[in-house]
């Protein structure tokens, strides 16, 4: 069978899934492609959800991933199965079972099922509790964010902070609660996490750290110690979990994500990888050889880049020519727009031993800070310092030493 006779099934129709489809076509694959997604909407982009969509500056149609809109399927010659959920995978039979027990066979598979918002227990029945993950989530929340509404945001991570900023701009009375003593510590470290979270207070939005939410009811939030905070709207932003349940009875190796090799190939529960199966985006866990670190990344740029890489690997494997493949070893990147600041991060902060502000200052609200692990530059944080930050990308991509980074900063 030639590659052109192959049927590639992509499960997950958000950024990673659609980018995989585009990359397959861009790289000349002319066989059948089927794209399966569990949301009924045409593929859309998530970053605007907590910002411009929530604030009403953009409509649902304006956050579509492809301006082609309904023509997307015909332009890329892809069969779309939207509003359909993959329920299980049989690797040996090369078959996926969807809801309503429909089966879809494949010659090659891209797993891009992403992640979903983590919910707090015993809150799903409450109409005043919201999460921020899907377009429907955000349209529902948008309708509730009216001027004067009392809003409690549970979780001072990036999503929580963006929602707090948007709700504040809409005239809501916002309070942010964070269970950890330091917000954003895992992502930015204690010093910079604490510093970034000061943006709330600067805009008159109270942030309370180290507080445990005991209960949520129709009137608001009850903290451990029984203090009550009245709220019309409670937004829960306490992280995401990878969508791997549909794979639990399959041969796919799962452990906080789908386990992949350095090339985005999916590992089996035995030794080695599964032929013709790759993964990308929030759901995929792999070893990034540039940082010598296993990672699973829930950010836009990684979904886009990893999907392209996974498509390249898949086509090379189908063609039986994997000799020129490169490992997927990017410089991770994310950004967050909150109030009047832009936070951007390149690289990693995991296991850092030192953070140094090399440009701007905390007082000015604009800075670049570098992260050191051993003698290596591993990350760079920018706050409203876009151009200066981006100059560190090449240094990170080439594994620059700490001295090289400091020398660059001094120039």
């Amino acid at each position: 069978m030639s590659v052109g006779d192959s049927h590639v099934v992509v499960v997950g129709a958000s950024l990673a899934g659609t980018r995989a489809v585009e990359a397959l076509r861009h790289q000349g694959f002319d066989g059948r492609i089927t794209l399966i997604g569990d949301e009924a909407h045409q593929p859309y982009d998530r970053p605007p959800l907590s910002k411009t969509l929530l604030s009403g500056k953009r409509t649902a149609d304006q956050v579509r991933l492809h301006p082609d809109g309904d023509d997307y399927a015909s332009v890329l010659d892809v069969t779309m199965m939207l509003g359909r959920r993959a329920c299980s995978l049989d690797v040996d039979a090369a078959e996926i079972t969807l809801d309503r027990d429909e089966r879809v066979g494949f010659d090659a598979l891209v797993i891009a099922t992403g992640s979903r918002a983590r919910h707090l227990n015993h809150t799903d029945h409450l109409p005043n509790v919201y999460v921020v993950r899907t377009l429907d989530d955000c349209l529902r929340l948008q309708a509730a964010l009216v001027a004067g509404a009392r809003v409690v945001v549970v979780g001072a991570g990036f999503i929580g902070a963006e929602v707090a900023a948007t709700a504040h701009s809409l005239g809501c009375h916002v309070t942010v609660l964070e269970a950890a003593p330091v917000p954003l510590e895992r992502q930015l470290g204690a010093t910079m996490g604490t510093y970034c979270a000061t943006v709330h207070a600067r805009h008159g939005v109270p942030l309370r750290v180290g507080v445990q939410v005991d209960e949520i009811d129709a009137n608001g939030v009850i903290l451990a110690g029984r203090e009550r905070i009245q709220a019309d709207v409670v937004v829960v932003g306490v992280g995401a979990v990878p969508n791997t349940e549909w794979l639990q009875d399959s041969d796919v190796a799962v452990g906080d994500g789908v386990l992949c090799d350095a090339f985005c190939r999916v590992r089996g529960s035995g030794a080695g990888t599964l032929k013709g199966i790759v993964a990308a985006g929030d759901v995929a866990r792999w070893t990034n050889t540039l940082f010598g670190e296993e990672m699973r990344i829930e950010h836009w740029t990684n979904a886009a880049e990893m999907a392209e890489h996974a498509a390249t690997t898949l086509l090379a494997d189908l063609n039986g020519d994997s000799s020129s493949l490169m490992p997927f070893a990017p410089v991770p990147y994310f950004w967050s727009d909150q109030y009047d600041i832009k936070i951007q991060f390149l690289g990693r902060s995991t296991g850092h031993q030192e953070v140094v502000v090399v440009d701007g200052s905390m007082e000015s609200g604009k800075l670049v800070a570098l992260y050191r692990r051993d003698n290596q530059l591993i990350g760079a944080l920018g706050i409203s310092r876009v151009r200066q930050l981006m100059s560190y990308r090449n240094l990170l991509a080439t594994g620059a030493s700490w001295e090289e980074a400091l020398t660059h900063a001094a120039q």
């Binding site: 980018r19 991933l65 886009a304 392209e308 950004w335 876009v386 981006m390």
Partner: protein, 62 residues
Amino acid sequence: MKIVVDFDRCQSNALCMSAAPELFEVRDDGFLYVLQEEPGEDQRAVLEAAVRACPTQAISIG
């Protein structure tokens, strides 16, 4: 080949600058500047990379 930027969508994340520094620059004023409005065909690959890297879908090729 013409670079078209929707400045209403652009949020100056500078990923285009990272992908194609000869075509895009975000300056200290926080705005994006297109350095060559009509680059040659030899720059198509790098421009396409910038289009794909833009997280606000602000860049297209006219």
